[in-house]
């Protein structure tokens, strides 16, 4: 299993210096991937823009949206953004997509939440077939090689993943929650007659030091979920041991790529995480 790290694009106080330094050091560290989240109505960076900046200061680390809310954008613009980023980073992009859960993001973007599942299916169909024959470049983007993931917990999301994507992006939780989703993803894959097995990506939040700040951020970021925000904050991984147990748990359940997302805008967080991974 590979372990990647989130780029702190949604944590309070993240600025240009932090994001670029974070990307540079992640490239030197034991991380397979740099991943970003997607929100509009929040103090955060747009995912494709942020990953473009990371692309400019890295050479080998994979770049991933984990996940981008597809239906906030039209299919054509989504292809344009993903294609441009893929070309700029030398086709290191993994495009994770889901329907999104926050009404305020859709309102802020001026798009409809209604029918977003159907729109995501259309976008995936476009990215996987019609894009090829369309004038939407750049030509330097490897459209066929673009790795696609789909997230979401409903049966329709698993079917969409199996129909159009290369793998599944899990939304977070303890290893046993991942295990259930992984079984559903594999079942959907087989049901759809896809050869081989789906790639399985997982994620979890961490704060090594400054856990109060990390908790405050998670409560704020997930305030829209009501009482669920406290549970997410309580599950934040705040010790080396918790992180190692989490990694082992995901590895045991067949996760291919686990992304650890920061909750504090501090470069020291990345260094401490690298130390934990090195001592694993």
């Amino acid at each position: 299993m590979n372990v990647g790290v989130g780029l702190p694009t949604t944590t309070p106080g993240a600025d240009r210096e932090l994001l670029l330094e974070w990307a540079r050091r992640a490239e030197d560290g034991p991380f397979s991937t740099l991943a970003v989240l997607d929100r509009v109505a929040y103090d955060s960076y747009e995912p494709f823009t942020a990953l473009s900046a990371a692309a400019a200061v890295t050479e080998k680390t994979r770049l991933a949206t984990m996940v981008a809310i597809g239906p906030l954008r039209t299919s054509g613009m989504l292809a344009k953004l993903a294609g441009s980023l893929a070309a700029l980073c030398g086709n290191r992009l993994t495009l994770g997509l889901a329907v999104g859960a926050r009404v305020d993001d859709f309102e802020a973007a001026g798009t409809q939440t209604r029918g977003r599942g159907h729109r995501l299916s259309e976008q995936l169909a476009f990215l996987r077939s019609d894009w090829e024959g369309s004038p939407i470049g750049p030509a330097a983007a490897d459209r066929k090689g673009l790795e696609l993931l789909v997230g979401g917990g409903a049966g329709a999301a698993f079917a969409r993943m199996a129909r159009y994507a290369d793998g599944y992006a899990h939304g977070g939780g303890p290893p046993r929650a991942f295990a259930r989703a992984a079984a559903a993803a594999r079942a959907a894959w087989s049901d759809m007659g896809r050869p081989g097995e789906p790639r399985l990506w997982g994620q979890g939040y961490f704060a090594l030091g400054d856990e109060e700040r990390g908790g405050d951020y998670l409560r704020d970021y997930y305030a829209f979920t009501g009482p669920f925000a406290e549970k997410i904050a309580a599950a934040n991984l705040t010790s080396a041991r918790a992180i190692k147990d989490f990694i082992r748990g995901y590895e045991d359940e067949g996760c291919d790529e686990l992304i650890l997302l920061p909750t504090v805008s501090d470069i020291g967080q990345l260094d401490r995480l690298a130390e934990v991974l090195a001592s694993r």
Binding site: K144, A183, A187, A234
Partner: protein, 720 residues
């Protein structure tokens, strides 16, 4: 800390005990609307696991509980008058009244204040409490007051039950099934001390109404049930304690706390009595909630901890409880089962016990099951040494499948000009040599226009038949497995790219071909709109299936399966979602099934009597306004009438935007319904990956054959 507990049931009292033990400085009060000695219901059951938790949490009350309780390890099932007993299921139960008395005593001893006959309706009374615990039961006042945050869901099941006591002391957890002129009645009975047992009687709503039970008062209800179970009661009496007919309410809550108010026990969740007691769950809640306060000082963190710890466990338990409750509501369909299989089906109803687990608990029971199953499969005599159900033979028509495992290697590489590549042929040979009883090919197109992708194998002409004959010959020479072919016409899901990058990706126009379907509706938004089939197309496709079947016979296949599933051509006629025709092939289910049945009849008449015909069909469209399992039962029965020997159950993909229900063994429940209600032999796949799942599903009569995931046979321990 000032703690107010509303409700002096076992959960509320036990939490008082544990928190007082954690810190005697806590000021704890319990408020109960009823008198201290009022109680409803009879005995409550604990599992070994729960007893262990109670022992660790408070040894003193544990000693009191184990002093008076009843303990046993058998489950006895009366079906068609024959009792079948299974051992190794450790249970214990205690009188609810005694449990409450001893918990009250323990509370008082520790200094927890108990207030009885104290109605609580004003939540303001607890404004100065640091923690308010609402253990106020299934009709919780606090749950409704805090509904905006807790977001409860409450729904009644479609059956009625009544909770009696009896002075007959059972020596097992006893299930008694009783057929009457009104329908099936079920009793759940178990002892809880040296004198008494609990005796719950249950029936479905329609049976309850037909029997006129809505008209009976408490005494008349008791007499009705005494008479019904006179045989088993043998002169003993039923005892009423405000025992009236009720519907079981399923309760769940998204959140279990709001500020410093937390819900516990039945207020937070219920789980059907057929797999355990609510009391057990409530007392486990109390332990988890107390542990939250061991780990955290502040109330909010402790309550979050309690939810994180307990909610996933309770959700799993509720899923199993729902499966169990649904089993009892549908159990009438298993009336024809032999007692041993009926019992195994009951024991494995909730998924918590399977074949492997029962082999450890009760080896003698499993030996009897194996022995009965093998004899029933072979039609021979019973032997004491018999293979597990997975390895019992299965007759299909005039053929015999050596065991119950089916493999169908997924479509990859495919075919060149309709003939499988060598790699594909080797995959089939490998599957046939794996030990499986039957190997089925993936979709083989009946015509060029019926292909899913350009790499689809075909059986359209003599050349294809010859190509397949070579492969079938190699399989027959090398392996014991039978080899079946799945004949398909892709319909509106045709002309797509190979599935390495995705499914239903349309081919470029220069490679594509025109599609046919029941109605002119594209499968995916960017897909080709098919032509609505006219009478000529219908005649042509039927003839193509007939030719393909003839070619299958010539190629030497042992079984032919027609694909009426997954939104392909024949499936498009079945579902109202995809069939909008106004001719004799559209409208009612009878009309929608007409063309598929014509194809079945045509193929049946082509096939040699020796070659059995199977049909793959959906157990559900998994879509609103689509076919559900009720329609599937009717379709399966019609197919069987037309000579189909095996129903291969799948589901969904009728339309691209369905709502599938994926997970482990996700199709077994549908296969079970179709098999028991339509009375047809079934094959089921649905992400089955272990021998235990096969033995359990086949042994319990939920399906006759299981399709194992090919990927489950890869990997294994590394042996240096």
């Amino acid at each position: 800390m000032k703690i107010s507990i509303i409700g002096a049931g076992p959960g509320g009292l036990y939490f008082g005990i544990l928190m007082k033990k954690l810190d005697p400085a806590h000021q704890i009060e319990v408020f109960e609307r009823n008198p201290h000695d009022a109680t409803f219901g009879w005995g409550v059951v604990f599992s070994e696991e729960t007893l262990g938790a109670l022992r660790d949490a408070d040894y003193e009350s544990y000693i009191d509980i184990t002093d008076t309780f009843a303990r046993w390890d058998a489950i006895e099932i009366y079906h068609r008058g024959t009792p079948v007993r299974s051992r190794g299921h450790a249970f214990s139960a205690i009188s609810r009244k005694k449990l409450l008395a001893l918990l009250q005593r323990r509370c008082r001893g520790l200094g927890v204040d108990l207030h009885f006959e104290h109605e609580v309706d004003d939540l303001q009374a607890f404004a100065d409490s640091d923690l308010v615990v609402a253990a106020d039961g299934v009709n919780s006042l606090f749950r409704s007051r805090h509904a905006d945050v807790l977001r409860p869901s409450v729904s009644d099941r479609a059956s009625k039950f009544v909770w009696f006591g009896t002075d007959l002391v059972f020596d097992a957890f006893t299930f008694i099934f009783k057929e009457t002129e009104h329908g099936l009645f079920k009793a759940h009975a178990y002892p809880f001390d040296a004198e008494l047992s609990t005796f719950i009687v249950e029936c479905n709503d329609d049976v309850w109404e037909r029997a006129g039970l809505d008209q009976l008062d408490e005494q008349e209800t008791l007499r009705f049930c005494e008479e019904l179970y006179a045989d088993q009661l043998g002169g003993h009496r039923l005892l009423s304690n405000r025992s009236i007919w009720m519907s079981f309410a399923n309760v769940s809550n998204q959140s279990w706390h709001d500020g410093n108010v937390v819900i516990l026990g039945d207020a937070a969740h219920t789980a059907h009595y057929s797999i355990g007691s609510g009391t057990k769950l409530a007392m486990e809640d109390s332990i988890a909630l107390t542990n939250g306060f061991v780990r955290h000082r502040d109330v909010e963190s402790a309550l979050v901890d309690y939810e994180l710890e307990r909610q996933p466990v309770v959700e799993r338990f509720q899923e199993a409880a729902n499966d169990s409750a649904t089993y009892f509501e549908n159990v009438r369909h298993y009336a024809g089962f032999d007692p041993i299989q009926f019992a195994f089906n009951l024991l494995t109803r909730s998924g918590r016990i399977g074949y492997a687990n029962l082999s450890l608990r009760d080896p003698a029971f499993v030996r009897e099951l194996d022995s009965w199953f093998a004899a029933d499969s072979d039609g021979g005599g019973k032997r004491r040494i018999a293979p597990p159900p997975m390895f019992a033979r299965m007759p299909v028509g005039d053929r015999v499948i050596e065991n119950r495992v089916v493999l169908s290697p997924p479509l990859s590489e495919g075919a060149r000009e309709g003939i499988p590549t060598e790699r594909r042929a080797e995959e089939l040979l490998r599957a046939a040599g794996s030990g499986a009883g039957l190997v089925l090919t993936d979709a083989v197109a009946v015509s060029e226009a019926g292909r899913i992708t350009p790499e689809c194998p075909m059986l359209e002409n003599e050349r294809h038949a010859q190509g397949w004959a070579g492969i079938v010959e190699r399989i027959h020479a090398d392996a014991e497995a039978l080899i079946g072919v799945q004949l398909n016409h892709a319909g509106r899901r045709g002309a797509t790219r190979p599935r390495s990058l995705g499914a239903d990706l349309p081919l470029d126009s220069e490679q594509s071909w025109p599609l046919l379907s029941a109605s002119a509706l594209a499968y995916v938004p960017n897909g080709q709109v098919p032509k609505e089939m006219d009478e000529d197309d219908i005649e042509l496709v039927r003839a193509q299936f007939a030719t393909a079947a003839r070619n299958a016979v010539e190629a030497g296949f042992d079984l032919v399966e027609l694909n009426l599933a997954h939104g392909y051509l024949l499936a498009s006629f079945l579902s109202p979602l995809t069939n909008q025709r106004e001719d004799r092939y559209g409208g009612s289910l009878e009309n929608r099934i007409a063309f598929p049945l014509e194809v079945v009849e045509t193929v049946r008449s082509v096939l040699d009597e020796e070659i059995p015909l199977a049909v793959r069909m959906p157990g559900s469209d998994w879509s609103r306004r689509g076919n559900g399992v009720k329609e599937a039962v009717l379709i399966a029965a019609a197919l069987a009438e037309h000579g189909c020997r095996l129903i291969d159950i799948t589901a969904g993909q009728t339309i691209a935007d369905g709502r599938p229900e994926y997970g482990r063994s996700y199709l077994t429940g549908l296969a079970d319904r179709v098999r028991s209600e339509a009375g047809v032999p079934t094959l089921v796949g649905g992400y089955i990956t272990t021998a235990d799942e096969v033995n359990t599903a086949v042994g319990a009569g939920r399906s006759d054959l299981c399709m194992l995931e090919c990927s489950a046979l890869e990997g294994g321990p590394r042996i240096e």
